[in-house]
Symmetry: C2
Subunit: 197 residues, 2 copies
């Protein structure tokens, strides 16, 4: 029994190695390569741990970190969808739901269901844990863009209103930091890294 | 006050982007590249979450996952030390202690001290949380080696007794799984991926 369970878990952990090959649109700060999903998920989890003092007192950090670790697993089969590509985002939901059947289906049933619920909750952003995790998922690439002359903003000719929409969970989850982050956005608009709307 | 704190935390999170450039000796399972520290740390944290049911009931999963996220941060300044290179491991302690001053010194004092304590506890492996985290740090590269024809074992002409020594925390922290893992080691010795002692 343990053997069969462990075999499934090992198979899942082995398959998920693919996260290291799924490239995002972001480049890392030294500009030598695109960031991959495993790197992004680690960095996002470190953001969550480091900035936890600013979260709503009701946030469960372990659940938020678990979300960070699993929130992109479906991309191993569905690929990365550029957040500023509106057409690609239309087909994203169906592609990712099908990928989720495959990814979470690798695990023992109840564990796969638990991981899938975490991912779905994260995606809906309708609990304090999910909102906090989503804020980290938005803030981390913002910081990469901020430090790489707006790499993906330029790539997508991204407008101010699009950036603010992406950062909405950051404003909601980290109100104490929003003043500082808003100043950073303004500076990027002034430098022409983000198009003024 | 918040501004200065947040600035330090952001600077730390920005500096730690370097984790994505620190290459390990392991290659990823599709054999296209070496694994980096950020990828390894994410994978190790996912191992910790997925295999938690086999841990000692006293283990605090959040602390173990935090250890996974921060256990290699010092390598951003000290570099990766090949675990099977005995000469390099002699100088490792001093190099890493100096790097730790720099890495954890980026954070507000009490937060830097907290992260540093987690890293030191992890390194000592003298608590259930640290032993469990260390087991994940050993099992994850074992699984990569197992799936890449013993890539780093061959690189270091590694002997059976060295592999068993590396896996000792796995045996101690996950007794229910040791039978299966031991069988995997035996199979690798039989295939000549690990040198029989």
């Amino acid at each position: 029994m343990t053997d069969e369970r462990f075999e499934k878990q090992l198979n899942f952990l082995t398959e998920m190695d693919k996260m290291k090959t799924i490239l995002r649109k972001n480049i890392i700060i030294d500009k030598t390569k695109n960031e991959d999903d495993a790197e992004h998920s680690w960095h996002m989890a470190l953001f969550a741990v480091t900035l936890f003092e600013y979260a709503d007192p009701g946030v469960d950090l372990l659940r938020a970190v678990k979300m960070a670790l699993v929130h992109d697993l479906v991309e191993t089969y569905a690929g990365d969808t550029f957040c500023f590509d509106e057409a690609a985002n239309e087909s994203k939901e169906l592609r990712e739901a099908q990928a989720a059947d495959r990814v979470f289906g690798l695990l023992p049933a109840e564990q796969g269901a638990e991981f899938r619920r975490l991912w779905e909750e994260f995606d809906r952003m309708d609990t304090p844990d999910a909102l906090y995790a989503a804020a980290m998922d938005r803030l981390q690439p913002f910081i990469l863009n901020y430090n790489t002359d707006g790499h993906t903003w330029k790539l997508g000719a991204v407008r101010e209103d699009q950036v603010y929409r992406r950062l909405e969970p950051v404003r909601a989850a980290l109100p104490a930091l929003w003043g500082t982050i808003d100043k950073m956005v303004r500076a990027c608009i002034e430098k022409g890294l983000i198009r003024a709307s």
